[in-house]
Amino acid sequence: MAMAMDAEAIAARLRALVGEDAITSVIAAEGGVRDAVLRVAIPRWLEVARALRDEPDLAFDFLDCVTAVDRPKDGRIDVVYHLFSYRHRHLAVVRLEAPRDDARVPSVVAVWPTADWNEREQYDLFGVRFDGHPDLRRLLMPEDWPNHPMRKDAAQPPSYRGMPTTRPNTLDLLPTSTLVRK
């Protein structure tokens, strides 16, 4: 029986299933935040994930998207999971707030196989370590790339293996009319 649940109902069900401390809070969908967000405690995330998928009333069988958002001002990196249920047609947004310098989050590859590459990409670009990931390597950047490029504080290395990573703007190379007249 397909019965869509909203964020509050989901949070309540999860607290009942996993424990009071699993869901730290629920951010309601108002102001800039367009979808309600469940803030989950990082140590309990794996259990919550299993509950989200296996609980018949929740049945979140599709992990839509895993995104890391670097917030240096608050000193944290948020890992946001967007989930969807084909049976109940309802959505859930889970946010894990990890400390910025050593972001360690349990991997959910065991629950949703699609998390494999999603997590590898977020590790590659943001440096979020996913514990328990079978093969946590860089996905997009070369193996020996010096930093995690999409972090707000990541400077672009001037060259990689002898190849310059920036090129002068072709317009600057053209001598302007003033130079010629001198």
């Binding site: 072709t170 317009l171 053209l174 001598p175 302007t176 009319s177 010629v180 007249r181 001198k182």
Partner: protein, 338 residues
């Protein structure tokens, strides 16, 4: 659904193959839809394109108010506008668009505030707009940088009439004319590297001194260069005299840099172009003399002495110069000199 059995698959194979063959034979008798660009199309492809086609950009400087909205909104800043304060007021001294890097997204056209009436167009166009030109194939990459204001010239910004708000939109030439003119100029400005070098080596195969310094040849060359060296002294003229092979024998990273150094006087040794040999030394010496105001005859004589001093009879340079450390060129080295 179960796959057909042993004989069923034979029947299926025959039936579907026959069906496929009948389709391809039917296709065989249809008219081909391809067109043999570039030389066998009914009309030049440019005319067959829809009016909204996003080809090369062009700017009608007569109606441009130099508000720099397009330069500001372009996501990859391919537009460069320089506005200078001159005695006759604010003036645009440079309007370049690097169409080699542009992604033809049209954001600049949308952000341009001034609307104009282009010849033969119903809808009002903008000052910066797309044309239906697209043939930009070139071997020298700088050709794709369209310079709507020639270096050294200036264009006063357009002042839209205040009071006649509802007045007729300012007229503007048909779309494409400006683009074609600027593209032609760009092609002239950047001769393909290899063509120039090839033409030069083929044209004057015999570069021995007697022929190069023969009185009438020298005098004719001096007069020819004198006509070119009117007041201004663009380094491109010097660059043309060199061998344009960027071989760094003269110590400069490229012929353009050596030419600019000679033009600006930074490098007085005008005989260091080894591949150019006597011919290059002669032409450059003539240019330098004429630049100092000498008459063609005195310039020819001075050039002849200089060449005889530094070149053997067959035109080859006397001293195989040891390469000095490359001198930091005034601007980063690029292909052909400016």
């Amino acid at each position: 659904m179960k796959r057909p059995g042993y004989f069923g698959s034979v029947v299926e194979a025959v039936r579907t193959t026959a069906e496929g063959l009948s389709i391809t034979l039917a296709q065989y008798f249809r008219r081909p839809t391809t067109v043999q660009y570039p030389d066998r199309t009914a009309v030049p492809v440019r005319e067959s394109l829809p009016s909204r086609y996003r080809g090369f950009l062009e700017v009608d400087l007569a109606t441009c108010t130099a508000c720099k909205a397009c330069e500001r909104d372009c996501p990859i800043d391919v537009i460069r506008i320089d506005v200078e304060k001159r005695d006759e007021g604010r003036v645009m001294s440079r309007f370049d668009i690097d169409l080699g890097k542009c992604m033809y997204c049209g954001i600049c056209v949308e952000s341009c505030p001034v609307e104009v009436r282009a010849e033969g167009e119903a809808e009002p166009q903008k000052v910066i707009r797309f044309t239906r030109e697209f043939e930009g194939a070139t071997t020298a990459f700088p050709t794709l940088t369209f310079r709507f204001i020639k270096p050294g010239e200036a264009a006063p910004p357009y002042k839209p009439p205040k009071k006649a708000e509802a007045a007729e939109l300012p007229p503007s030439p048909a779309r494409g004319e400006i683009a074609r003119r600027v593209r032609a100029e760009a092609r002239v400005e950047n001769p393909p590297a290899f063509a120039a070098a090839l033409a030069q080596t083929l044209a004057d195969r015999d570069e021995s001194l007697p022929r190069l310094l023969a009185p009438e040849v020298l005098a004719a060359r001096a007069r020819e260069l004198a006509a070119k060296v009117d007041g201004d002294f663009p380094s491109a003229l010097v660059a043309e005299a060199l061998a344009r092979t960027d071989c760094e024998a003269c110590g400069w990273p490229s012929c353009g840099d050596y030419a600019r150094a000679i033009a600006s006087g930074a490098d007085a040794q005008t005989w260091k172009c080894l591949p150019g040999a006597a011919k290059a030394t002669r032409d450059v010496a003539l240019l330098v003399q004429l630049r100092r105001g000498a008459s063609p005859e005195r310039a020819a004589a001075a050039a002849a002495d200089l060449v005889r001093m530094h070149h053997r009879a067959d035109g080859s340079p006397k001293t195989a110069l040891a390469l000095p450390a490359p001198i930091a060129s005034t601007s980063s080295s690029t292909g052909g000199g400016q």
